[in-house]
Structures are given as structure tokens and as C-alpha cells.
């Protein structure tokens, strides 16, 4: 059920991933940041999140891009659940009508 090489790969992946999770904390735990570094760290979360979803912004189907625009507008006004539902429904409907 568990192949030895698969197990090695999984354990190595887990170790690499956990190290990425703790290094940022361990490295900055006892360090006072300069004001400029603080400005950079405050921008960091948004930069990470928007980079992760960047592929949606360069989708090749017009229906996907229109649905994304609707989702952006929804996110500006509504909380999590309505935004997610509006995004899903608009993507499903637009794909039906715009091939």
C-alpha cells in the first residue's frame, strides 16, 4: 500500500514545507525591524495572495475574465460566503452563454 520511494518523497516534501513555514518566524522572532522593513512586511501579505491568484487575471476565456470582474466587485462589498457564491454562479452562467 505504501511504496518506499513514495514514502521518502512524501517525507521530504513534508520536511521542506514545514521548514518554509517556520523559517520566517524563527528568523524574525527576536529582531527589531527598521521602519522601511516594516513597510515592506506590511505589503508582503497582499503581494503573496495576489500572486497566487494571478493566473485567474490572465485567463484566456472572456467568460472567465468577466466572471472575475464580477467577483472583484462582489469582494469589495460583500463578506466571504456571498462573494464565493456570486463568483461561482457568475462563472457557471457566463460559461454557458459565452463559449
Amino acid at each position: 500500500m505504501i511504496h518506499p520511494l513514495t514514502l521518502v518523497a512524501i517525507l521530504l516534501m513534508a520536511a521542506v514545507t514545514y521548514s518554509t513555514r517556520v523559517i520566517g518566524y524563527v528568523g524574525l522572532r527576536n529582531r527589531a525591524l527598521s521602519p522601511r522593513a516594516k513597510v515592506v512586511m506590511e505589503a508582503a501579505p497582499g503581494c503573496v495572495l495576489i500572486s497566487v491568484i494571478a493566473p485567474s487575471f490572465v485567463a484566456d476565456r472572456p467568460a472567465d475574465l468577466i466572471a472575475l470582474a464580477i467577483t472583484v466587485a462582489a469582494a469589495a462589498r460583500f463578506s466571504m460566503l456571498p462573494t464565493v457564491l456570486i463568483g461561482m454562479v457568475s462563472a457557471a452562467l457566463l460559461r454557458l452563454f459565452i463559449p
Partner: protein, 247 residues
Amino acid sequence: MSILGSTTDSKAAAPALSEVRRGLNASLPMLLGIIPYGLLLGAQASKKGFSIVEVPLLTGLNFAGGSEFAAIQLWTSPPHIVLIAAITFLVNSRHLLMGAALAPYLAGLPKRLVFPALFWMCDESWALGLADARLRSAERARQPFSIPYYFSLALSLYFCWVACTTAGAALGPSIGDVRTFGFDMAFPAVFLVLLRGMWRGPRAALPWLVSLVVAGGTRLLVPGAWYVPAGALSGLAAAWLFAERSR
């Protein structure tokens, strides 16, 4: 219940319980985005020869969806272990920044809580935990980072991810396309709401725009997951340059 930091005193347990409920509620809309991707990952892994035991082993020990999709994509038999480890680091390198952003709010907490908390740090649990800590810090809470809120939120996402990937492996190829019913739009929708919560005006968001443009361009021009570190780092560089000008 030591993980929740509560004592046997019922007065202390009551607010912890409401924090648990708050965390579970916050996680619910995110599950909509996680379920279809979990099923899809499990199905893809089973196509590559993963057994129903190996799939939860991967998703339960690694718990970072992006790197799991990348690893499955690159999976050969036998696996190219060094390549897979390197891609895992590349896709998850954003965790370095995420942990650093969280560090000031974790400062007052004991390490026996912080190190497990970091194991469950994914994009969603991190963004919600950070937003909550910033809010509580502005309200001058004694401990800005709410451990019961964070753990209930993160564990809800975790068990959903492991369960759905396992179910996906069991169901295998009968899983359809996540694009049906627009399930794939749930993922950017979640992230956009998280970004709205971090909005501090258009000026502060200029680095985000740089990240978006660079990540989008990289995505179009370079195959693989390079767009995440490229976008994140160029946004940081922009923030660094803008900070210099505004002084």
C-alpha cells in the same frame, strides 16, 4: 484541551468556546473552495498510481495544496525525489514571507503552541489569523493572536482537505471537471475577500499591483509555478522603493 490554552475554570473556557465557534464559522465559506480541489487532487494522484493510504499521507503531512498539485504533475515511477523537493520549496517559498508577517503577533506565545500553529499555516488560515490578530491588536487585546480561533479554523480546513483528497483517490477518474458549476472561481473569490480585508488605500496597494502584473506576465511567459515567487518578490521590491520615496 491544552491546545486551546483554556483551564478547567469554566469562566476561562466559555470565551475559548466562542472563539472556537468563531473560527469554525470563518472556515465554512473556505470549504466550498477546498472540496472540489481536494477531490481533484486525489483523483489525479490515483491516476499516477498513488494508493488510498499514500494520498492522505501526502496531504496530511505536507498540507500545502499548490505543492501537492505540482508534485503529482511531475510524478514519475520511480519519483524524481530531488526535483519534487525543489519544486515543493519553490511553490511554498511564500510561507517564508507569511511566517515573517505573523512573527510579531506570535511573539508572546509559548513555542509549544507556535510550532504546531505554523504546521497548519496555509494561505487561508494565515490570512484570517493575521487579519484577526491585527484587529485585536488595534483593540489592544492582551494577546492579539487568538489560539482557539486560529486552530479551530485551521483544523477545519485541514480535515476537509485530507478527507476530500482521500475521497478523490477512492472515486478516482469518475471525478469531473472543477470548472463545472464554477467551483474554480471559489478560490480567487476567497483570496479577493482576504485582500479586501488588508486594503489600506490605493497608495499602500501599489506593490500589490506590481505583484499582479509581474505574476500574471510570468504566468503567461514561463511554464511552472515561478509566477508566485516572481510576483511576490517584485511586489516587495516595489514596496521597498516606494517606502524610500515617501520619506
